[in-house]
Symmetry: C2
Subunit: 267 residues, 2 copies
Protein backbone atom coordinates (compact mmCIF):
# COMPACT_ATOMS: atom_id res chain seq x y z
CA UNK A 1 0.00 0.00 0.00
CA UNK A 2 2.83 2.36 0.89
CA UNK A 3 4.20 1.99 -2.61
CA UNK A 4 0.94 2.91 -4.29
CA UNK A 5 0.62 5.85 -1.95
CA UNK A 6 4.14 7.05 -2.71
CA UNK A 7 3.53 6.66 -6.42
CA UNK A 8 0.38 8.73 -6.18
CA UNK A 9 2.08 11.40 -4.09
CA UNK A 10 4.91 11.59 -6.53
CA UNK A 11 2.36 11.73 -9.34
CA UNK A 12 0.58 14.64 -7.69
CA UNK A 13 3.92 16.38 -7.21
CA UNK A 14 4.67 15.93 -10.87
CA UNK A 15 1.36 17.50 -11.72
CA UNK A 16 2.16 20.36 -9.37
CA UNK A 17 5.26 21.54 -11.23
CA UNK A 18 3.22 22.00 -14.36
CA UNK A 19 1.48 24.96 -12.74
CA UNK A 20 -2.15 25.69 -11.87
CA UNK A 21 -3.47 24.31 -15.14
CA UNK A 22 -1.07 21.40 -14.83
CA UNK A 23 -3.82 18.81 -14.99
CA UNK A 24 -3.85 19.10 -18.77
CA UNK A 25 -1.16 16.58 -19.49
CA UNK A 26 -0.83 15.27 -23.03
CA UNK A 27 -0.58 11.49 -23.15
CA UNK A 28 2.86 11.82 -24.72
CA UNK A 29 4.36 13.57 -21.72
CA UNK A 30 3.50 10.69 -19.42
CA UNK A 31 4.06 7.89 -21.91
CA UNK A 32 7.33 6.70 -20.50
CA UNK A 33 6.60 6.96 -16.79
CA UNK A 34 5.60 4.16 -14.45
CA UNK A 35 2.47 6.10 -13.50
CA UNK A 36 1.06 6.32 -16.95
CA UNK A 37 1.84 2.67 -17.51
CA UNK A 38 -0.03 1.69 -14.36
CA UNK A 39 -2.80 4.28 -14.53
CA UNK A 40 -3.21 5.07 -18.22
CA UNK A 41 -6.54 6.81 -17.59
CA UNK A 42 -5.60 9.07 -14.68
CA UNK A 43 -5.01 12.02 -16.98
CA UNK A 44 -7.24 14.36 -18.88
CA UNK A 45 -10.93 14.67 -18.22
CA UNK A 46 -12.88 12.19 -16.07
CA UNK A 47 -15.91 10.67 -17.84
CA UNK A 48 -18.28 11.18 -14.91
CA UNK A 49 -18.21 13.51 -11.90
CA UNK A 50 -19.78 11.94 -8.82
CA UNK A 51 -20.87 14.35 -6.09
CA UNK A 52 -21.24 13.56 -2.43
CA UNK A 53 -24.35 15.31 -1.06
CA UNK A 54 -24.40 16.11 2.68
CA UNK A 55 -21.94 18.93 3.49
CA UNK A 56 -20.51 18.75 -0.06
CA UNK A 57 -23.56 20.22 -1.85
CA UNK A 58 -25.90 20.91 1.08
CA UNK A 59 -25.20 23.26 3.98
CA UNK A 60 -25.68 21.44 7.29
CA UNK A 61 -25.83 24.61 9.40
CA UNK A 62 -29.64 24.47 9.63
CA UNK A 63 -29.50 20.79 10.60
CA UNK A 64 -27.13 21.56 13.40
CA UNK A 65 -29.66 23.93 14.92
CA UNK A 66 -32.44 21.30 14.87
CA UNK A 67 -30.17 18.63 16.34
CA UNK A 68 -28.77 21.06 18.88
CA UNK A 69 -32.32 21.74 20.13
CA UNK A 70 -32.85 18.00 20.65
CA UNK A 71 -29.59 17.98 22.65
CA UNK A 72 -30.98 20.73 24.90
CA UNK A 73 -28.87 23.39 23.24
CA UNK A 74 -25.52 21.59 23.74
CA UNK A 75 -24.17 22.59 20.34
CA UNK A 76 -20.62 21.52 21.31
CA UNK A 77 -21.90 17.93 20.93
CA UNK A 78 -22.83 18.31 17.25
CA UNK A 79 -19.50 17.26 15.72
CA UNK A 80 -19.44 14.29 18.09
CA UNK A 81 -22.95 13.28 17.01
CA UNK A 82 -22.09 13.55 13.28
CA UNK A 83 -18.83 11.60 13.69
CA UNK A 84 -20.64 8.94 15.76
CA UNK A 85 -23.22 8.62 12.95
CA UNK A 86 -20.42 8.09 10.41
CA UNK A 87 -18.60 5.65 12.69
CA UNK A 88 -21.73 3.53 13.21
CA UNK A 89 -22.64 3.56 9.51
CA UNK A 90 -19.31 1.74 9.06
CA UNK A 91 -19.89 -0.51 12.07
CA UNK A 92 -23.14 -1.63 10.43
CA UNK A 93 -21.50 -2.26 7.03
CA UNK A 94 -18.45 -3.96 8.56
CA UNK A 95 -20.88 -6.43 10.14
CA UNK A 96 -22.68 -7.15 6.86
CA UNK A 97 -25.82 -5.31 8.05
CA UNK A 98 -27.73 -2.36 6.59
CA UNK A 99 -29.93 0.36 8.08
CA UNK A 100 -31.01 3.67 6.59
CA UNK A 101 -28.47 6.42 7.19
CA UNK A 102 -31.15 8.50 8.93
CA UNK A 103 -31.91 5.67 11.35
CA UNK A 104 -28.21 5.35 12.18
CA UNK A 105 -28.12 9.12 12.70
CA UNK A 106 -31.08 8.84 15.08
CA UNK A 107 -29.42 5.98 17.00
CA UNK A 108 -26.20 8.02 17.27
CA UNK A 109 -28.26 10.95 18.58
CA UNK A 110 -29.80 8.71 21.25
CA UNK A 111 -26.31 7.51 22.29
CA UNK A 112 -24.72 10.97 22.49
CA UNK A 113 -27.81 12.28 24.33
CA UNK A 114 -27.80 9.39 26.85
CA UNK A 115 -24.11 10.04 27.59
CA UNK A 116 -25.14 13.53 28.70
CA UNK A 117 -28.23 12.45 30.64
CA UNK A 118 -30.63 13.55 27.93
CA UNK A 119 -33.37 11.02 27.16
CA UNK A 120 -34.64 10.82 23.54
CA UNK A 121 -36.89 8.03 22.32
CA UNK A 122 -36.15 6.24 19.02
CA UNK A 123 -39.31 7.73 17.48
CA UNK A 124 -38.44 11.26 18.56
CA UNK A 125 -34.80 10.93 17.41
CA UNK A 126 -35.90 9.67 13.97
CA UNK A 127 -38.32 12.57 13.58
CA UNK A 128 -35.60 15.10 14.47
CA UNK A 129 -33.05 13.61 12.06
CA UNK A 130 -35.48 13.08 9.20
CA UNK A 131 -36.82 16.64 9.44
CA UNK A 132 -33.31 18.06 9.79
CA UNK A 133 -31.79 16.10 6.87
CA UNK A 134 -34.60 17.08 4.52
CA UNK A 135 -34.56 20.84 5.04
CA UNK A 136 -31.04 21.75 3.97
CA UNK A 137 -30.24 24.53 1.49
CA UNK A 138 -27.47 24.18 -1.10
CA UNK A 139 -24.19 25.93 -0.31
CA UNK A 140 -24.31 29.38 -2.00
CA UNK A 141 -21.90 28.61 -4.89
CA UNK A 142 -23.23 25.15 -5.74
CA UNK A 143 -25.80 25.92 -8.46
CA UNK A 144 -23.48 28.18 -10.42
CA UNK A 145 -20.74 25.56 -10.25
CA UNK A 146 -23.01 22.71 -11.38
CA UNK A 147 -24.38 24.89 -14.21
CA UNK A 148 -20.84 25.63 -15.38
CA UNK A 149 -19.88 21.94 -15.39
CA UNK A 150 -23.06 20.88 -17.25
CA UNK A 151 -22.61 23.61 -19.84
CA UNK A 152 -19.08 22.34 -20.33
CA UNK A 153 -20.33 18.86 -21.20
CA UNK A 154 -19.66 17.01 -17.94
CA UNK A 155 -21.90 14.16 -16.88
CA UNK A 156 -22.96 14.82 -13.26
CA UNK A 157 -24.12 12.12 -10.85
CA UNK A 158 -24.96 12.46 -7.15
CA UNK A 159 -23.67 9.66 -4.92
CA UNK A 160 -24.73 9.67 -1.29
CA UNK A 161 -25.03 7.69 1.93
CA UNK A 162 -28.60 9.05 2.23
CA UNK A 163 -31.41 6.75 1.04
CA UNK A 164 -32.95 7.06 -2.46
CA UNK A 165 -36.12 8.65 -1.11
CA UNK A 166 -34.05 10.80 1.26
CA UNK A 167 -31.81 12.34 -1.40
CA UNK A 168 -34.80 12.96 -3.70
CA UNK A 169 -36.49 14.95 -0.92
CA UNK A 170 -33.23 16.73 -0.16
CA UNK A 171 -32.74 17.78 -3.81
CA UNK A 172 -36.38 18.87 -4.16
CA UNK A 173 -36.03 21.09 -1.10
CA UNK A 174 -32.68 22.53 -2.22
CA UNK A 175 -33.69 22.92 -5.89
CA UNK A 176 -30.91 20.62 -7.16
CA UNK A 177 -32.96 17.90 -8.91
CA UNK A 178 -32.47 19.24 -12.44
CA UNK A 179 -28.66 19.39 -12.34
CA UNK A 180 -27.95 15.67 -12.22
CA UNK A 181 -28.01 13.00 -14.91
CA UNK A 182 -28.45 10.33 -12.24
CA UNK A 183 -28.88 10.01 -8.49
CA UNK A 184 -27.11 7.07 -6.81
CA UNK A 185 -27.61 5.98 -3.22
CA UNK A 186 -25.56 3.39 -1.31
CA UNK A 187 -28.97 1.95 -0.37
CA UNK A 188 -28.87 -0.03 -3.64
CA UNK A 189 -25.56 -1.68 -2.80
CA UNK A 190 -26.42 -2.10 0.92
CA UNK A 191 -23.07 -0.75 2.12
CA UNK A 192 -21.92 2.75 3.04
CA UNK A 193 -19.17 4.83 1.55
CA UNK A 194 -16.17 4.61 1.92
CA UNK A 195 -16.32 0.84 1.33
CA UNK A 196 -14.42 0.20 -1.92
CA UNK A 197 -17.35 -1.87 -3.20
CA UNK A 198 -19.62 1.19 -3.19
CA UNK A 199 -17.37 3.18 -5.55
CA UNK A 200 -16.78 0.15 -7.76
CA UNK A 201 -20.55 -0.43 -7.95
CA UNK A 202 -21.14 3.24 -8.88
CA UNK A 203 -18.63 3.34 -11.73
CA UNK A 204 -19.90 -0.02 -13.02
CA UNK A 205 -23.45 1.34 -12.91
CA UNK A 206 -22.35 4.22 -15.16
CA UNK A 207 -20.51 1.81 -17.45
CA UNK A 208 -17.08 3.33 -16.88
CA UNK A 209 -13.77 2.28 -15.33
CA UNK A 210 -12.85 3.39 -11.78
CA UNK A 211 -10.02 5.54 -13.21
CA UNK A 212 -12.56 7.37 -15.41
CA UNK A 213 -14.59 8.31 -12.32
CA UNK A 214 -13.98 11.34 -10.12
CA UNK A 215 -15.49 11.96 -6.68
CA UNK A 216 -16.08 15.52 -5.52
CA UNK A 217 -16.55 15.62 -1.73
CA UNK A 218 -15.99 17.71 1.39
CA UNK A 219 -15.02 14.70 3.54
CA UNK A 220 -11.53 13.35 4.03
CA UNK A 221 -12.85 9.79 4.45
CA UNK A 222 -14.84 9.96 1.20
CA UNK A 223 -11.98 11.13 -1.04
CA UNK A 224 -9.65 8.66 0.71
CA UNK A 225 -12.04 5.77 0.05
CA UNK A 226 -12.65 6.83 -3.55
CA UNK A 227 -8.92 7.03 -4.31
CA UNK A 228 -8.21 3.70 -2.60
CA UNK A 229 -10.91 2.25 -4.86
CA UNK A 230 -9.06 3.54 -7.92
CA UNK A 231 -11.06 6.73 -8.48
CA UNK A 232 -9.79 10.25 -8.99
CA UNK A 233 -10.90 12.84 -6.43
CA UNK A 234 -11.41 16.54 -5.74
CA UNK A 235 -11.68 17.76 -2.14
CA UNK A 236 -13.69 20.80 -1.05
CA UNK A 237 -11.89 22.08 2.04
CA UNK A 238 -15.00 23.57 3.65
CA UNK A 239 -14.58 25.07 7.15
CA UNK A 240 -13.96 22.30 9.68
CA UNK A 241 -13.15 19.70 7.00
CA UNK A 242 -9.76 18.00 6.84
CA UNK A 243 -8.06 15.51 4.56
CA UNK A 244 -7.03 12.22 6.23
CA UNK A 245 -3.25 12.53 6.65
CA UNK A 246 -2.62 8.81 5.95
CA UNK A 247 -4.45 8.81 2.58
CA UNK A 248 -3.24 9.91 -0.89
CA UNK A 249 -3.68 13.63 -1.59
CA UNK A 250 -6.49 14.28 -4.11
CA UNK A 251 -5.43 15.95 -7.36
CA UNK A 252 -7.68 18.98 -6.75
CA UNK A 253 -8.10 20.73 -3.39
CA UNK A 254 -10.05 23.99 -3.23
CA UNK A 255 -12.17 25.82 -0.64
CA UNK A 256 -15.44 25.80 -2.60
CA UNK A 257 -17.14 24.04 -5.48
CA UNK A 258 -16.91 26.96 -7.91
CA UNK A 259 -13.13 26.95 -7.63
CA UNK A 260 -13.12 23.22 -8.29
CA UNK A 261 -15.45 23.66 -11.29
CA UNK A 262 -13.11 26.29 -12.78
CA UNK A 263 -10.26 23.77 -12.62
CA UNK A 264 -12.40 20.98 -14.06
CA UNK A 265 -13.51 22.94 -17.12
CA UNK A 266 -9.85 23.47 -17.99
CA UNK A 267 -9.23 19.73 -18.20
Amino acid sequence: MKNTEEQRRSFIKKLGILGSSGLIIPNLMMANTTNSAKNPLIIGRPKVLFFDVNETLLDLTAMKETVSEALEGRSELLSLWFTTMLQYSLVVSASGQYEHFGHIGAAALQMVAANHDIDISEEEARKVISKALQSLPAHPEVKEALEMLRADGYKLVSFTNSSNAGVKNQFEYAGLLEYFDERLSVEDVGKFKPFSETYQWASKKLGIAPAESMLVAAHGWDVAGAQWAGWRAAFIARPGKQLFPLAPTPEIVETDLLKIARKLVKL
Copy 2:
Protein backbone atom coordinates in the same frame (compact mmCIF):
# COMPACT_ATOMS: atom_id res chain seq x y z
CA MET B 1 -31.55 -8.83 9.57
CA LYS B 2 -34.62 -7.53 11.35
CA ASN B 3 -35.75 -11.12 11.82
CA THR B 4 -32.49 -12.23 13.35
CA GLU B 5 -32.53 -9.19 15.58
CA GLU B 6 -36.06 -9.88 16.74
CA GLN B 7 -35.23 -13.51 17.37
CA ARG B 8 -32.26 -12.49 19.46
CA ARG B 9 -34.27 -9.93 21.40
CA SER B 10 -36.97 -12.48 22.05
CA PHE B 11 -34.24 -14.92 23.07
CA ILE B 12 -32.82 -12.43 25.56
CA LYS B 13 -36.31 -11.78 26.90
CA LYS B 14 -36.79 -15.51 27.39
CA LEU B 15 -33.56 -15.62 29.34
CA GLY B 16 -34.74 -12.68 31.40
CA ILE B 17 -37.80 -14.45 32.81
CA LEU B 18 -35.59 -17.21 34.15
CA GLY B 19 -34.17 -14.80 36.71
CA SER B 20 -30.67 -13.48 37.36
CA SER B 21 -29.04 -16.87 36.94
CA GLY B 22 -31.21 -17.54 33.91
CA LEU B 23 -28.27 -18.12 31.62
CA ILE B 24 -28.01 -21.69 32.87
CA ILE B 25 -30.46 -23.27 30.47
CA PRO B 26 -30.44 -27.02 30.08
CA ASN B 27 -30.38 -28.11 26.45
CA LEU B 28 -33.74 -29.77 26.98
CA MET B 29 -35.52 -26.52 27.77
CA MET B 30 -34.55 -24.99 24.47
CA ALA B 31 -34.66 -28.13 22.39
CA ASN B 32 -37.89 -27.39 20.61
CA THR B 33 -37.48 -23.68 19.95
CA THR B 34 -36.39 -22.01 16.74
CA ASN B 35 -33.50 -20.37 18.59
CA SER B 36 -31.94 -23.55 19.80
CA ALA B 37 -32.32 -25.05 16.33
CA LYS B 38 -30.51 -22.10 14.79
CA ASN B 39 -28.01 -21.46 17.61
CA PRO B 40 -27.53 -24.80 19.33
CA LEU B 41 -24.43 -23.56 21.17
CA ILE B 42 -25.70 -20.23 22.58
CA ILE B 43 -26.35 -21.68 25.99
CA GLY B 44 -24.24 -22.72 28.92
CA ARG B 45 -20.59 -21.65 29.29
CA PRO B 46 -18.60 -20.12 26.44
CA LYS B 47 -15.34 -21.96 25.68
CA VAL B 48 -13.22 -18.80 25.52
CA LEU B 49 -13.69 -15.29 26.90
CA PHE B 50 -12.18 -12.63 24.62
CA PHE B 51 -11.49 -9.27 26.24
CA ASP B 52 -11.29 -5.96 24.48
CA VAL B 53 -8.44 -3.91 25.99
CA ASN B 54 -8.72 -0.09 25.70
CA GLU B 55 -11.46 1.23 28.01
CA THR B 56 -12.63 -2.34 28.75
CA LEU B 57 -9.61 -3.38 30.85
CA LEU B 58 -7.53 -0.19 30.84
CA ASP B 59 -8.63 3.16 32.25
CA LEU B 60 -8.19 5.88 29.60
CA THR B 61 -8.48 8.80 32.04
CA ALA B 62 -4.70 9.32 32.09
CA MET B 63 -4.58 9.21 28.28
CA LYS B 64 -7.20 11.89 28.08
CA GLU B 65 -4.98 14.21 30.10
CA THR B 66 -1.99 13.68 27.79
CA VAL B 67 -4.10 14.18 24.65
CA SER B 68 -5.88 17.14 26.17
CA GLU B 69 -2.48 18.81 26.72
CA ALA B 70 -1.68 18.36 23.01
CA LEU B 71 -5.03 19.99 22.22
CA GLU B 72 -4.05 23.00 24.31
CA GLY B 73 -6.28 21.95 27.19
CA ARG B 74 -9.47 21.65 25.11
CA SER B 75 -10.68 18.55 26.95
CA GLU B 76 -14.17 18.88 25.41
CA LEU B 77 -12.55 17.63 22.14
CA LEU B 78 -11.42 14.30 23.60
CA SER B 79 -14.54 12.27 22.82
CA LEU B 80 -14.51 13.72 19.31
CA TRP B 81 -10.86 12.70 18.87
CA PHE B 82 -11.48 9.14 20.13
CA THR B 83 -14.58 8.71 17.92
CA THR B 84 -12.68 10.11 14.91
CA MET B 85 -9.91 7.57 15.54
CA LEU B 86 -12.49 4.74 15.59
CA GLN B 87 -14.23 6.09 12.48
CA TYR B 88 -10.97 6.29 10.53
CA SER B 89 -9.83 2.83 11.65
CA LEU B 90 -12.96 1.59 9.82
CA VAL B 91 -12.37 3.91 6.86
CA VAL B 92 -8.94 2.32 6.44
CA SER B 93 -10.29 -1.25 6.68
CA ALA B 94 -13.29 -0.51 4.43
CA SER B 95 -10.76 0.53 1.78
CA GLY B 96 -8.70 -2.64 2.14
CA GLN B 97 -5.81 -0.74 3.74
CA TYR B 98 -4.08 -1.15 7.11
CA GLU B 99 -2.22 1.22 9.43
CA HIS B 100 -1.31 0.79 13.11
CA PHE B 101 -4.14 1.89 15.41
CA GLY B 102 -1.77 4.36 17.10
CA HIS B 103 -0.92 5.96 13.75
CA ILE B 104 -4.62 6.35 12.98
CA GLY B 105 -5.08 7.89 16.44
CA ALA B 106 -2.28 10.34 15.70
CA ALA B 107 -3.79 11.26 12.31
CA ALA B 108 -7.19 11.80 13.98
CA LEU B 109 -5.48 14.02 16.54
CA GLN B 110 -3.93 16.09 13.74
CA MET B 111 -7.36 16.45 12.07
CA VAL B 112 -9.26 17.47 15.23
CA ALA B 113 -6.44 19.86 16.17
CA ALA B 114 -6.36 21.47 12.70
CA ASN B 115 -10.12 22.04 12.87
CA HIS B 116 -9.48 24.17 15.96
CA ASP B 117 -6.45 25.98 14.59
CA ILE B 118 -3.98 23.90 16.56
CA ASP B 119 -1.00 22.70 14.55
CA ILE B 120 0.53 19.31 15.45
CA SER B 121 3.10 17.55 13.27
CA GLU B 122 2.74 13.85 12.44
CA GLU B 123 5.85 13.07 14.48
CA GLU B 124 4.62 14.99 17.51
CA ALA B 125 1.10 13.47 17.28
CA ARG B 126 2.53 9.93 17.11
CA LYS B 127 4.72 10.56 20.16
CA VAL B 128 1.74 11.87 22.16
CA ILE B 129 -0.53 8.94 21.25
CA SER B 130 2.13 6.26 21.69
CA LYS B 131 3.14 7.57 25.12
CA ALA B 132 -0.50 8.02 26.17
CA LEU B 133 -1.64 4.55 25.01
CA GLN B 134 1.24 2.82 26.78
CA SER B 135 0.83 4.35 30.24
CA LEU B 136 -2.68 3.29 31.19
CA PRO B 137 -3.55 1.60 34.50
CA ALA B 138 -6.10 -1.23 34.70
CA HIS B 139 -9.57 -0.27 35.94
CA PRO B 140 -9.63 -0.93 39.72
CA GLU B 141 -11.78 -4.11 39.64
CA VAL B 142 -10.09 -5.76 36.64
CA LYS B 143 -7.42 -7.93 38.31
CA GLU B 144 -9.80 -9.41 40.88
CA ALA B 145 -12.33 -10.20 38.13
CA LEU B 146 -9.74 -11.86 35.86
CA GLU B 147 -8.37 -13.85 38.82
CA MET B 148 -11.89 -15.08 39.65
CA LEU B 149 -12.51 -16.18 36.06
CA ARG B 150 -9.15 -17.97 35.77
CA ALA B 151 -9.66 -19.75 39.09
CA ASP B 152 -13.04 -20.87 37.77
CA GLY B 153 -11.43 -22.55 34.74
CA TYR B 154 -12.15 -19.99 32.04
CA LYS B 155 -9.73 -19.55 29.15
CA LEU B 156 -8.98 -15.82 28.84
CA VAL B 157 -7.75 -14.16 25.65
CA SER B 158 -7.20 -10.45 24.99
CA PHE B 159 -8.37 -9.21 21.60
CA THR B 160 -7.55 -5.63 20.67
CA ASN B 161 -7.30 -3.08 17.88
CA SER B 162 -3.88 -2.10 19.33
CA SER B 163 -0.83 -3.63 17.64
CA ASN B 164 0.90 -6.76 19.01
CA ALA B 165 3.83 -4.77 20.37
CA GLY B 166 1.43 -2.09 21.63
CA VAL B 167 -0.74 -4.39 23.72
CA LYS B 168 2.31 -6.16 25.14
CA ASN B 169 3.65 -2.82 26.38
CA GLN B 170 0.21 -1.88 27.67
CA PHE B 171 -0.13 -5.11 29.67
CA GLU B 172 3.42 -4.86 31.04
CA TYR B 173 2.69 -1.34 32.30
CA ALA B 174 -0.71 -2.31 33.76
CA GLY B 175 0.50 -5.63 35.24
CA LEU B 176 -1.97 -7.71 33.22
CA LEU B 177 0.41 -9.96 31.22
CA GLU B 178 0.03 -13.01 33.46
CA TYR B 179 -3.77 -13.19 33.33
CA PHE B 180 -4.18 -14.15 29.67
CA ASP B 181 -3.70 -17.46 27.88
CA GLU B 182 -3.22 -15.62 24.59
CA ARG B 183 -2.99 -12.07 23.27
CA LEU B 184 -4.60 -11.43 19.87
CA SER B 185 -4.25 -8.23 17.85
CA VAL B 186 -6.20 -7.32 14.70
CA GLU B 187 -2.74 -6.52 13.29
CA ASP B 188 -2.45 -10.21 12.31
CA VAL B 189 -5.66 -10.13 10.26
CA GLY B 190 -5.01 -6.62 8.87
CA LYS B 191 -8.52 -5.39 9.62
CA PHE B 192 -10.03 -3.65 12.63
CA LYS B 193 -12.85 -4.72 14.88
CA PRO B 194 -15.84 -4.70 14.38
CA PHE B 195 -15.34 -6.28 10.91
CA SER B 196 -16.97 -9.75 11.10
CA GLU B 197 -13.80 -11.29 9.66
CA THR B 198 -11.79 -10.24 12.73
CA TYR B 199 -14.05 -12.13 15.17
CA GLN B 200 -14.21 -15.13 12.84
CA TRP B 201 -10.42 -15.13 12.60
CA ALA B 202 -10.08 -14.98 16.40
CA SER B 203 -12.40 -17.91 17.13
CA LYS B 204 -10.76 -19.95 14.37
CA LYS B 205 -7.34 -19.16 15.86
CA LEU B 206 -8.55 -20.62 19.18
CA GLY B 207 -10.01 -23.63 17.39
CA ILE B 208 -13.59 -22.95 18.46
CA ALA B 209 -16.89 -22.04 16.79
CA PRO B 210 -18.15 -18.44 16.81
CA ALA B 211 -21.05 -19.45 19.10
CA GLU B 212 -18.54 -20.85 21.64
CA SER B 213 -16.81 -17.45 21.80
CA MET B 214 -17.82 -14.56 24.04
CA LEU B 215 -16.59 -10.97 23.78
CA VAL B 216 -16.38 -8.83 26.90
CA ALA B 217 -16.18 -5.14 25.97
CA ALA B 218 -17.13 -1.64 27.05
CA HIS B 219 -17.98 -0.48 23.49
CA GLY B 220 -21.36 -0.70 21.84
CA TRP B 221 -19.77 -1.15 18.40
CA ASP B 222 -17.59 -4.04 19.62
CA VAL B 223 -20.39 -6.10 21.17
CA ALA B 224 -22.62 -5.30 18.17
CA GLY B 225 -19.95 -6.52 15.72
CA ALA B 226 -19.20 -9.62 17.78
CA GLN B 227 -22.87 -10.62 17.96
CA TRP B 228 -23.41 -9.96 14.26
CA ALA B 229 -20.44 -12.31 13.66
CA GLY B 230 -22.19 -15.05 15.63
CA TRP B 231 -20.43 -14.51 18.99
CA ARG B 232 -21.98 -14.12 22.41
CA ALA B 233 -21.24 -10.89 24.24
CA ALA B 234 -21.10 -9.17 27.62
CA PHE B 235 -21.19 -5.36 27.80
CA ILE B 236 -19.52 -3.30 30.53
CA ALA B 237 -21.62 -0.15 30.79
CA ARG B 238 -18.76 2.07 31.97
CA PRO B 239 -19.55 5.79 32.38
CA GLY B 240 -20.10 7.39 28.97
CA LYS B 241 -20.49 4.04 27.19
CA GLN B 242 -23.72 3.14 25.39
CA LEU B 243 -25.05 0.11 23.53
CA PHE B 244 -25.88 0.72 19.85
CA PRO B 245 -29.70 0.89 19.78
CA LEU B 246 -29.95 -0.88 16.38
CA ALA B 247 -27.91 -3.93 17.45
CA PRO B 248 -28.98 -7.05 19.40
CA THR B 249 -28.84 -6.64 23.19
CA PRO B 250 -25.94 -8.65 24.69
CA GLU B 251 -26.89 -11.38 27.13
CA ILE B 252 -24.96 -9.78 30.01
CA VAL B 253 -24.91 -6.05 30.76
CA GLU B 254 -23.26 -4.82 33.97
CA THR B 255 -21.50 -1.65 35.14
CA ASP B 256 -18.12 -3.27 35.89
CA LEU B 257 -16.07 -6.38 35.11
CA LEU B 258 -16.40 -7.90 38.59
CA LYS B 259 -20.20 -7.98 38.26
CA ILE B 260 -19.82 -9.63 34.85
CA ALA B 261 -17.35 -12.17 36.26
CA ARG B 262 -19.80 -13.07 39.04
CA LYS B 263 -22.44 -13.87 36.41
CA LEU B 264 -19.97 -15.82 34.27
CA VAL B 265 -18.83 -18.13 37.08
CA LYS B 266 -22.47 -19.11 37.62
CA LEU B 267 -22.75 -20.43 34.04
